[in-house]
Amino acid sequence: MTTAVTMTDAELKALLLENLALIAPEADLDELSADADVRDMLDIDSFDFLNFLIAVNEQTGVDIPEADYGQLISLNDIIVYLKAHA
């Protein structure tokens, strides 16, 4: 398993976008700013968001407790979180 530690910000961002594209295939992810509220922008409900986090967990090895979901708003937030908890 790849871990978040060894990944650059750009690699992490690519990983996140790849998983978001699976959930919201119709969205134009190039338009998604790194500071934007991901769930809001892409219209992702709690079920899809959970699936997204499951995939991120599997691919980075970072465990994300439910209590921390609130910190994961934008792409930048998620990248910062993943690096801090790697």
Binding site: S46, F47, L50
Partner: protein
Amino acid sequence: MGEFKMPSLGADMATGTLYEWSVAPGDRVKRGDVIAEVETDKGVIDVEIWEDGIVESLLVEAGTEVPVGAVLAIIRGEGEAAPTPEPEVVETVQASAEKAPPQAVRVPEPPQPATNGKRVRISPVARRRAQELEVDIRSVQGSGPGGAISLEDVEQAAAAAEEAEHLRVSPVARRMAEDLGIDLSKVSGSGPRGAITKADVECAAEKLRQQPETAPETVLEECVEEEKARQETAVPSPPVPAKEKPDFQTRMRRAIAAAMAKSNREIPHYYLETRIDVTRTLEWLEAENLKRSIKDRILPVVPLIKATAKALADVPEMNGFWINDELQVSEAIHIGFAVSLRQGGLVTPAIHNADMKSLDELMVDVRDVIMRTRAGRLRGSDLTDSTITLTSLGDMGVEKVYGVIYPPQVALVGFGRVIEQPWAENGMIGIRKIIAATLAGDHRASDGLRGARFLDALTKHLQEVETL
């Protein structure tokens, strides 16, 4: 010998298209097997069979659209001998003839005057019309039962006769021709199938006035030529839209429109709402989820489903259908869970026997139906079994949902967003996590008092989270 029929996959479904067979004649099938895919307004649905047996024959080819209830396949029961269809058909006919109620016996018709030695079957209305239009009924081919001539047949015969005489004239043109003293038999028509239009008559009158010396025939030919040229250079009329199937989006919208319009037309809704303190419930869930890997975590909607199911067991009038002017309470509790689709629209697949499942089992079911709904892999039982609908719009930030009942169900439960609010209880004020629950009830099936009992039971079960 069982018949596998086109199922009704929703109150609004009249026909379905057999998309693909998943079985072939000779295949052994058992209860619950998916044996066909049916295309409906809600997408392609896997349809299950509800008996064990062997596929005897497939009666409908893939791609065929048939009405709900049409027999699609014959299923032979286990151990049942291969069929001998002919005697069976005869038996059926005899049986139904014996059982036929007396009023079904055909009353002998009053004798009709014989014409040319051949009896003409014609309705009195059609006969009168034929006299008016001077149509010889002996020359009319009847399209009704037993070759009976209908009013429509007479009208068509009259129209055909008129066409044969090349005198199709619009009423306006006829009046105008009379006023102007123009002989219609000399005017060529430029309208559909050579019909003489107002423009033809006007043109003819104009030409005759300008060139009274010329032979009228020549002039009138010019009229038709001019009119034809005008029509050709004119903006072409929009092509008649090909009768092609509207896209999936449109069809889903129409299916929802039909069901919801029916609901608001027929169901006298009443609405009740209550606010529920779910602080302890959510704390419990968070602690529970902390013990689990992310894959096994339970979404907050799952306790809502379970509490609803338990409240329905307490107040069963909310769980069932309004059919034939009476409430049919369902013993089984299958909760139709509203799942929105990213491309718009929603489907409410059933979470089966929700009252009997643990939160973990329900989470598995919720995951399963959401995934299959979004992947377009629903089964017939997902769509037909729901005994009530639950919609949770908390994710979208709304506080309350006032639902429209999905007929023939008799209630819909709605949940809004969890909001931290100042909450007074036992003389104390605190900040608590509050969710608003609403009930849309069918007033034909239940009254507000029972609805209130339901919401009360829902509150109790949602707060007794350990027992869920």
